[in-house]
């Protein structure tokens, strides 16, 4: 069983996150880069399955700038058997459609029974990539799982919505995404860090995958304008003169906050 886990390098949530107003991209120099926590959780799902099943092979995959290699390597240190890194300057600023085309090509090339991703990245927060991949790969898709069971030929789990939970299942091969309800990931130990040095680490370009980044026949998103987030306006101060509660309630209703 081959499980591909999609991971991503993102700016540390604990640091300052800035938008580069020239390019409209995240300013990667502004804060420390880390492995996205939701991706780590996805990897933990795969690794715990591999712990219990000798025939399972876990591959971490990422489309990211070349500088992200050490971050992807952390996935190997945690226990993944191999890594695939698609690094191509031509892919900088890729939109979700292009990202999905590239990843789908790489997934197909590597071969897979199951693809596990996080439901939403910490930086881009697109949230649709797993579904796009399933479409391109022409396999079933189960998103936002808060629990998951993997067997030799199927995957099932719980999908929580606001006022209901669904039990979903799919036959393999499939693409799934998991939520923050899944357990946090293990820390890599020193043995794992040293072992990671010797594990296969494949670096690919868009051309290796036969993807043309600037294919004008495919729909793509184009950034037309960019502006800094406006400074926060001063809030409303309610002095309680007996009607404080009512006034706060009115404010909340007026601004559609309840």
């Amino acid at each position: 069983m081959k499980i591909i886990v999609l991971v991503k390098e993102v700016p540390d949530t604990y640091g300052d996150r800035k938008l580069d107003l020239e390019t409209g991209l995240a300013d990667r120099a502004a804060s420390e880069a880390v492995l996205d926590e939701i991706g780590e959780r996805a990897l933990e799902v795969a690794l715990s399955f591999a712990d219990a099943h000798d025939d399972a092979e876990v591959v971490v995959m990422s489309m990211a700038p070349e500088t992200a290699a050490p971050t992807i390597r952390k996935g190997l240190a945690m226990g993944a058997a191999a890594a695939v890194h698609i690094a191509d300057p031509g892919l900088a600023g890729a939109d979700l459609g292009l990202t999905a085309r590239v990843l789908a090509a790489a997934i197909r090339r590597t071969g897979f029974d199951l693809v596990i991703a996080g439901n939403l990245s910490t930086d881009g927060s697109g949230g649709v990539l797993p579904a796009m991949l399933a479409e391109l790969l022409d396999v079933p898709n189960a998103t936002a799982l808060s629990s998951i069971e993997i067997t030799a030929d199927s995957v099932s789990g719980t999908r929580s919505a606001d006022d209901a939970t669904m039990r979903v299942s799919a036959t393999l091969p499939a693409v799934v995404s998991i939520t923050e309800a899944m357990p946090s990931a293990r820390f890599p130990n020193f043995k794992g860090i040293m072992a990671a040095k010797k594990k296969p680490f494949e670096t690919l370009t868009a051309a290796d995958l036969g993807v043309e980044p600037h294919d004008l026949s495919v729909a793509m998103s184009i950034m037309t304008a960019i502006a800094e987030k406006p400074a926060r306006a001063a809030g409303l101060k309610v002095t309680d003169e007996g009607d404080g509660g009512t006034r706060i309630a009115e404010y909340l209703v007026e601004n559609r906050l309840v």
Binding site: F190, K191, A196
Partner: protein, 387 residues
Amino acid sequence: MMHDLSPEEVQLYDMVCEFADTVVAPQSYEADRSHTLSMDVVAQMGELGLFGLPFPEQYGGQGGDYMALGLAIEALARVDQSIAITLEAAVGLGAMPIFRHGTEEQKAERLPDLVAGRALAGFGLTESEAGSDAGATRTTAVLDGDEWVVNGSKQFITNSGTPITSFVTVTAVTGERTRPDGSVSKELSTIIVPNGTPGFTVAPGYDKSGWRASDTHPLTFDDVRVPAANLLGERGRGFANFLRALDEGRVAIAALATGAAQGCLDEAVAYAKTRNVFGVPIASHQYIAFTIAQMQARVHTSRLAWHDAARRVDAGLPFKKEAAIAKLVASDAAMLNARDATQIFGGMGFMNESLVARHYRDSKILEIGEGTNEVQLMVIARELGLE
């Protein structure tokens, strides 16, 4: 980080920093307040392989070296010196003497549990009348048939009374030796005394001013009988064995002190940028900025010193002087940085909830344990031929 580290060493340091920040730090205030070592944290450190860092995989270790151990200790000490010293003592004083001087049977029996963090061990050298002058040891061990009979007491012994402590290695006088010049000296040996052996009493822990979540006890031995096979290393080599352990331990304490100094620096930088007094961040005062610049310089020199000493240990080079220098400068750095950081925090720095207040109380022992700083000066002077 320093340019001398390999990418894997940087990853190890970052990984232990992450563990320290997310698992250790949240419990540190309460553990300090209640004087309790969290066995849950110890267990998680075990799972992470920290207790096995410098040991070969044959004994369940991580196959790293002394450098790797120092990096882990430094990373932990930024946020919690009690946890860092628990690791330092467990490896340097508990497991390392067994690894270095134990027989194959002793290693096979004891190391796997220690290396996995399932068990802890202490090293009992200090006595009420034998601290800096460790040769003044009074505890005795007499061979009676195939058993050692141990009598005496030890004080300030780290990791000697946790729920998972399995033994304490004690130094004891096992006889007398006549030197070639006719003078008589004590014969010192090291003996493994399992916790729970009749006559071996671990008294309640001390009420310490710092390192309060670290486990430290006085020990008494009253006709304690252990098998003759519990002798660790050669009879009469006790002194040499613990000197080696202490020399190495100084490198690890220097790493710990560097972490403490770094923790104070990080806190001071963050606070000085955000604390507004007289309408401006206090960092905009040159006096504060320069104070913090000094703190950074101390961290840097301490780190250089311990890295050099650790690399020497790993390369099998002489390191006695370098270890003493590293311990001297790094413990002073921790103490000074703790004082400066506390000052920068003002009244908040005096509250135990703030990390700098804990570093202020915790750092003093760094100038005392594993040989006082006066002893470090003695060692350095002796290495220079000044007796």
